[in-house]
């Protein structure tokens, strides 16, 4: 019986106009998007490689210099150390925050003031400014925005439309249990929705595979499969929601308007507002304020140091110790400010994320970007890595300078491979999946179950006449 019902649903759906529309949209969108983003990825990868080679060559040139002093001058004071950020292979599918991070970072020491500084490239100058005006139409965007809309459209009149046409009455006048009807509607409709989706996605992945831009195997394949799985779950959330709306309404035009309303709220409004509410609930002082406070600490420290040098000159060693103590105090206070800022920021990020998860769209976005390694995790790992890179370079440069002054630098002190660089702790797929399953995946499953249960309950008491 169920099989017959499902067959009927599939037959009806496949022959409908909306099936063609959905097929055309999915196929066109996913193919165009993978085509464009693959070539974009290849270009970024090329840029990454050539820039890496260029910086490597520059280092080798420094290594081949004869004089130690000249080497140090070139390496630490002139050229500095560059590190590139490798483009993430899965960014072809989910671009995420990758564009908001620099593609290379640099640090060097100033010859005259011996302060450490970074040379910043105006990366926006090299980019078509319209990129930042519009969103990247990647696979994640297509699923998040387009597929959810299409899922709702596919199903909005599943129940109420049949009621309007009068076929539901006829169907139920036979000995068909209502639960089988709704189950078959879900299964038949969902299959018809994801079939064009999966076919188009397969075509897209095949294209990526054929171009050889990304080696899909091992971990990246696992990530991709998880990404597909979570997309299917996400589409099903909206599909079930549409079914629920259809059982709640009696006219398909009402169902359509309600579906559009729900879609606008859950895709466009809630995910946008949640970070804002997060910022209201957990305000974080701006970085400028922290910088200003740090400056104040610096100024106070230098005032106290001056006082010491004036009053305690005759005490010699004791003054030296007092100086050290004051400097250390200043450093600790600055570190505390940093830590305070970091912890507040983390709290705010967590609250924003939690709030936005009212909408499955946000859950999907987080899960998809984490799986593609282009999400908030990448951002924080970059921040940690960047800070560590700066610290390590400073230590390294101080050490080299000291050794140069003491004439203890050997002939082959410069080991290009051992230079400090940006080291980001890798995101392990197990961790991503663990945290995803416990939160985002679970939430989507819960949404699915709740919506289906509600649709079931409402359909049982649906007035079919």
């Amino acid at each position: 019986m169920l099989l017959d019902l499902i067959k009927k649903e599939i037959a009806v759906n496949v022959l409908s106009l909306r099936f063609i529309v959905i097929f055309v949209l999915f196929f066109g969108l996913i193919l165009v998007s993978t085509f464009i983003l693959t070539s974009d990825y290849q270009r970024r990868q090329q840029g990454y490689q050539s820039s890496r080679t260029a910086h490597r060559d520059a280092l080798n040139k420094i290594e081949s210099l004869e004089d130690n002093r000249k080497q140090v001058e070139e390496l630490i004071y002139n050229q500095g150390v560059y590190t590139e950020l490798q483009p993430q292979p899965l960014s072809i599918f989910v671009r995420g925050l990758e564009d908001d991070l620099p593609s290379q970072i640099h640090i060097s020491r100033n010859l005259y003031t011996s302060r450490f500084g970074v040379r910043k490239i105006d990366e926006d100058f090299y980019q078509n400014p319209f990129f930042s005006l519009f969103t990247t139409p990647d696979y994640g965007y297509i699923v998040n925005i387009v597929a959810s809309l299409l899922a709702l459209l596919f199903v909005f009149d599943a129940i109420c439309g049949e009621k309007e046409r009068g076929t539901l009455k006829i169907k139920l006048s036979n000995a068909v249990p209502r639960d089988l009807v709704i189950l078959s509607k879900w299964i038949g409709g969902y299959l018809c929705l994801i079939l064009p989706f999966l076919v188009s996605l397969l075509a897209g992945i095949t294209y990526v595979y054929l171009t050889g831009a990304v080696r899909l195997g091992g971990e990246s394949l696992d990530r991709l499969l998880w990404l597909v799985a979570i997309s299917l779950l996400y589409i099903s959330v909206f599909f079930t929601l549409g079914l629920l709306i259809s059982t709640l309404t009696h006219r398909s035009s009402t169902a359509l308007i309600v579906s559009l309303f729900v879609w606008i709220c859950s895709i466009l409004v809630i995910p946008n507002l949640a970070p804002v509410i997060g910022r209201l609930v957990a305000p974080v002082p701006t970085l400028q304020k922290i910088l200003a406070e740090k400056e104040a600490v610096d100024r106070e420290t230098s005032l106290r140091l001056q006082r010491i040098s004036r009053t305690m000159l005759e005490y010699g060693n004791e003054a030296e110790r007092a100086r050290e103590r004051i400097e250390k105090e200043g450093e600790t206070r600055k570190k505390k400010l940093d830590a305070f800022f970091q912890s507040e920021l983390r709290r705010q990020i967590d609250i924003s994320k939690t709030l936005s998860r009212i909408s499955p769209s946000a859950s999907f976005r987080y899960a998809a970007t984490e799986l593609a390694e282009t999400g908030t995790g990448l951002f924080s790992r970059f921040n940690i890595g960047y800070k560590r890179f700066q610290e390590r370079f400073e230590e390294y440069a101080e050490d080299i300078d000291d050794r140069l002054d003491d004439d203890q630098l050997g002939n082959d002190w410069l080991q290009v491979d051992e230079l400090p660089g940006l080291e980001m702790s890798p995101s392990r797929i197990e961790d991503v999946i663990d945290s995803m399953i416990t939160v985002d995946l679970l939430l989507m499953v819960i949404f699915n179950v709740i919506f289906f249960m509600a649709a079931y309950v409402f359909f049982l008491r649906y007035d079919v006449t």
């Binding site: 840029g47 908001d100 319209f130 519009f134 035009s253 359509l256």
Partner: protein, 459 residues
């Protein structure tokens, strides 16, 4: 007669569910978006003000002319209150740029911020109108003709002596009015809320560009609405009409605008950042090395001959200035070449964007409000000019007395970065053509709807 028809349409719409939805969505998104963006603006303004003080203090604390050369001056981009309405191409309200004699203007960026918001689009007026309101416009018009046919009321209406063109016009006016009334009211409400924030100081020019942008929004919405009317008069069933319309909507609003820069990037490629940067770095490295060699060759005999300090400083000054100017000239040449190629790409993007009313509209309002590409380029131009001023200034400050500890560096006479945004007339630029194109789309769709409705089978 027409007024009667309009009245009927208005009443029909006012009592419908979609009008209720519009009345919830419009104020909700406009106000929440407004509050968010105003808050952002307020925070950015505080940052900007404290930055200015901080950077001035930093400059005053310099005691060595080398600091002027190497660390330079940090200038801040003044805020544009229009960003509250149309965010434009720069996500940040303000930017800090380091101007030094040794490098190009360097945009200071930090990554210690909440990245969650960056995952989602910003809800400015361009987004609200471009995406949300356009969807509502479709929801308002998809069943205007086909729906009435299905209900059978169209037949009844036409059995009276009502000309068809009147019906269509009545539908257009009535439906459009009921679509934009909630929107306009929410905008007005938003503006009232905005007036409560004295920080947002709109100048006369801003008001006129805001007004013009709002007119653009209304024309844009009417384009989409008329499109809905057209499709509705081409189809027999409301369900077919909505399917076709949503297909068009997805392509027009969600796909084409986002694809246009990518297609332009493929169609008119520019050299990669790394190749250009490497070229510039090479020239800089060569010049600096040459300077070092020349300087060492000059300074050793000079020191042996007990040349006076003032002469050495003057020589250093001359040689450095010469080298920096040479580097800057070469760099400008390379940059200009790159900008020429990027200019071609930007022009292609603009051309492609004209295919979809949404991208056309988005780009036009951003240009108009001074948050678009033109303004960005203008800012870069001003920075470049200031940067070359700074080179001369920084080396002029090389006073032998400072190096001998007899005088202190006084940088209070440093050149000030004077940022004047583009004027209203400059901003308008292409906008008029864009608005004309939108009006053209309106006419085409309305004519299409008219022709189709004339031969529409109402039975």
């Amino acid at each position: 007669m027409l007024s009667l028809l309009i009245r009927k349409e208005l009443l029909d719409h006012l009592l419908s569910l979609r009008f209720a939805m519009a009345c919830i969505i419009c104020p909700a998104v406009v106000l929440s978006g407004g509050v968010v963006l105003t808050r952002d603006y307020k925070e950015a303004l505080l940052d900007y003000n404290s930055n200015i003080v901080m950077h001035r203090n930093q400059l005053e604390e310099y005691d060595n002319p080398f600091s002027l050369v190497d660390d330079g001056n940090k200038v801040d981009k003044p805020l544009n209150p229009m960003k509250v309405f149309f965010r434009g191409v720069d996500e940040e309200h303000t930017a800090t740029v380091r101007i030094s004699a040794i490098a190009e203007p360097e945009f200071q960026s930090h990554y210690e911020k909440n990245p969650v918001a960056m995952l989602f689009p910003i809800m400015d007026l361009a987004f609200v109108a471009g995406v949300i309101m356009s969807l509502l416009a479709i929801a308002f018009s998809y069943d205007a003709i086909a729906g009435e046919k299905e209900m059978g009321t169209l037949k009844v209406t036409l059995s009276y002596s009502v000309p068809r063109d009147m019906i269509l016009l009545g539908k257009w006016i009535g439906g459009y009015l009921s679509l934009i009334i909630p929107f306009i009211l929410s905008i007005l409400l938003g503006l009232v809320v905005l007036l409560l924030f004295p920080e947002i100081d709109l100048r006369g020019e801003d008001w006129s560009s805001l007004l013009l942008a709002l007119v653009g929004v209304l024309i844009y919405l009417s384009t989409i609405y008329t499109l809905g009317l057209f499709v509705s008069s081409r189809t027999e069933q409301a369900s077919t009409s909505i399917m076709v319309l949503l297909l068009i909507w997805v392509v027009m609003v969600l796909v084409l605008p986002n694809l246009s820069p990518h297609i332009a990037n493929l169609g008119s490629p520019v050299p990669s950042m790394h190749s250009v940067e490497t070229e510039k770095a090479k020239i800089q490295g060569e010049e600096e090395r040459k300077f070092m060699d020349d300087w060492r060759a000059w300074i050793q005999p000079a020191q042996e001959n007990n040349t006076p300090m003032s002469e050495m400083v003057a020589k250093f000054q001359d040689m450095q200035t010469e080298m920096r100017v040479r580097i800057a000239t070469e760099r400008t040449k390379i940059n200009d070449q790159f900008r020429k190629e990027m200019g071609a790409q930007i022009r292609l993007t603009r051309l492609l964007a004209k295919l979809s009313p949404t991208s056309l509209f988005t780009i036009a309002v951003c240009d108009l409000s001074g948050t678009g590409v033109q303004e960005q380029e203008h800012f870069r131009d001003l920075l470049k000019r200031y940067s070359s001023q700074w080179v001369t200034y920084a080396y002029d400050k090389f006073d032998p007395a400072i190096f001998q500890g007899e005088a202190e560096l006084d940088a209070s006479d440093h050149p000030v970065f004077d940022y004047a945004p583009l004027t209203f007339n400059d901003r308008i630029g292409e906008t008029f053509i864009d608005i004309l194109i939108l009006i053209g789309w309106n006419l085409v769709f309305f004519m299409g709807a008219y022709l189709s409705f004339m031969r529409y089978d109402v039975k």
